[in-house]
Amino acid sequence: MSDISARLHNLRALESLSMGRTVIHRVHPLAKLFSALIFIVCTASFGRYDFAALTPYLFYPFVMMALAELPYKLLLSRMLIALPFCLFAGLSNVIFDKAAAFTVVGVTISLGILSLMTILLKMYLCVMAALLLVATTPFTELTAQLRRLHVPAVFVMVFEITFRYISVLLEEVYAMTTAYKLRSGSKKALDMRHMGSFVGQLLLRGFDRAERVHAAMGCRGYSLKSIPPPRRQLRSSDVLMLAAVCLPALLLRFFMVGHLYMTG
C-alpha cells in the first residue's frame, strides 16, 4: 500500500471506529463531549511541575480504550503527531530551568526535566481525550451536538468541511501520484520541476471535487442553519457516565491527590 493510500486508510479507520457498538459508543454524544472537555480543562490547568498530580488521570484513557474496545496502537500513532511540538516547547525548559527538583536513586532531576515530563503527560492526556471522543462518536453527531449547543455555525462548518475534505484531497493526491508514477519511468518521487504544475492541478482538481461533494451535501439538505434533531434523549446512564468521568477529574484537580502523595 502506498504512503498516501495508507494515510487515507488511517484517516477512515478512526471514523470507522466511531461506528462501534460498545457501551462507550452508546453513550449520548453530549455526555461524551462534556466529559472530554472537563477532562481536558482539568489536566491542562495543572502547573508546570505537577507531574505526580497528573498521573492518576492516566486511568481515564486506559479505561475508556478498554471499554470502547479501541486499538491502542492506532490511537497512539495519532497522538504521536503532536509529540514534536510539545518536545520543542519543553526542551527549552530543560536547558534554562536547571534547579534540582528531587533525586531518584542518586540521579538529580531538574525542574526543567520535570516540566518537560509534565508537558508530555499533559499532551498525552489531552490528545487522547480528544481522540477517544472522535473514535467513539460519529463525526456528524459530534458537530450536530456543537450546533445544538449554539456554537457559531461557521466554526462547526470549518470542522465539518476540513474533516470531510482532507480525505477528498488525499484521494486526489493518490490518483495524481499514481498517474504520474506510471508515466515517469522509474522515478520514485515527484520531480521538483513538475512540483508547481502538480500542486496547481491538485488545487484545481481538489476545488472542483470539493464543489461537487458540497453540492451533493446541499442536495440532501445540508446547510449552515440546519440542526438535525438529536438521535435520542439524554438518559440517566449518560449522566452517570458524565459524573463518573467529571467528578474524579474535578476532585483530583482541586485536591491534587498525586501532589500530596509526592510531597507527603
Binding site: M19, P138, G218
Partner: protein
C-alpha cells in the same frame, strides 16, 4: 407536475449553459435527456435542484416555484443522483450515508432508520449497510447513491449518466430497478438503448437549447440525432 419555463443558466464566465428551455414532467413519467458532451445536460439537472442559479425563467414543482426561500422544500422533493457516485458517498458507512439526507431534513431518528431500511431493501442492498462506500464495486456504489436519494422520499428523481462505469450485468440490474421505481424520472444519458427501454419521452439538447421534445421514436431518427451531434 414539474414545469420548467424559459429556463436559462450561465456559467461564471458568462457563457450560456442552458438557453430558454421549456418542458414539463408529470408524476411517474420517465423522460430521457440526451445530447452531445457539453450540450448542457448536467447543467440542466443542477439548475432544476438549485445548485446552479438560473439567470431567467421559472422552475415550478406543483404550486411551489424554486426560489431561495423554497430551495430546501424543492430539494426534499426532487432527488439528484450524481454521475460519479464517489461525489455523493462521503460518510464512513452506507447506513450513515443514506441517513444523511433524512437527518439533514430534520427527520426524527426512528423515521430515519425506517427510511434507510426501506431504501436498502427496495434496492436489495441490505447486506451493504455496514460497508464503507470506499469498498463497494461500481455497480454497488451506483445503487448506494440511488438509495441515499430514495431515503428522502422524493417525488421526482434526476439521474446524471446512471449507466456510466457499469458493466452489462450491473446495467441490467439498474434498468430493472429504475423501471420499478414509482417516481417521475429525468435521466441524462448517452446510452440510447437504456433511454429507449425506460423512457416514453425524450428531450434533445444541443448547445444548451432544447431542439426536440418528442416521444421515444426520436431515438430512431438518425438525422435528428446526428444533427444534434450524437
Amino acid at each position: 407536475m414539474l414545469t420548467v419555463t424559459d429556463l436559462s443558466v450561465e456559467y461564471t464566465d458568462g457563457a450560456r449553459a442552458i438557453d430558454a428551455v421549456c418542458f414539463s414532467m408529470k408524476a411517474g413519467e420517465n423522460i430521457a435527456l440526451i445530447g452531445a458532451n457539453g450540450a448542457g445536460k448536467t447543467s440542466l439537472l443542477l439548475a432544476l435542484i438549485g445548485v446552479l442559479p438560473s439567470v431567467s425563467g421559472e422552475i415550478r414543482l406543483g404550486e411551489t416555484i424554486l426560489t431561495k426561500k423554497t430551495l430546501r422544500e424543492i430539494r426534499a422533493r426532487i432527488g439528484l443522483v450524481f454521475q460519479n457516485p464517489d461525489d455523493q458517498l462521503f460518510m464512513p458507512n452506507l447506513f450513515e450515508d443514506i441517513a444523511f439526507g433524512p437527518r439533514s431534513f430534520g427527520c426524527p431518528e426512528a423515521e430515519t432508520i425506517k427510511r434507510v431500511t426501506a431504501a436498502l431493501s427496495q434496492l436489495g442492498i441490505e447486506n451493504l449497510a455496514e460497508r464503507s462506500p470506499l469498498k463497494l464495486s461500481g455497480g454497488e456504489k451506483r445503487l448506494a447513491a440511488i438509495a441515499t436519494v430514495l431515503a428522502m422520499n422524493p417525488e421526482f428523481l434526476l439521474f446524471d449518466e446512471p449507466t456510466a462505469f457499469l458493466d452489462p450485468r450491473a446495467r441490467r440490474t439498474l434498468t430493472a430497478i429504475l423501471a420499478e421505481l414509482p417516481q417521475g424520472k429525468l435521466i441524462a444519458t448517452h446510452d440510447l438503448a437504456f433511454a429507449e427501454q425506460l423512457c416514453s419521452q425524450v428531450l434533445l439538447l444541443q448547445k444548451g437549447k432544447l431542439v426536440a421534445n418528442r416521444g421515444r421514436e426520436v431515438l430512431q431518427d438518425a438525422a435528428t440525432l446526428e444533427g444534434a451531434g450524437l
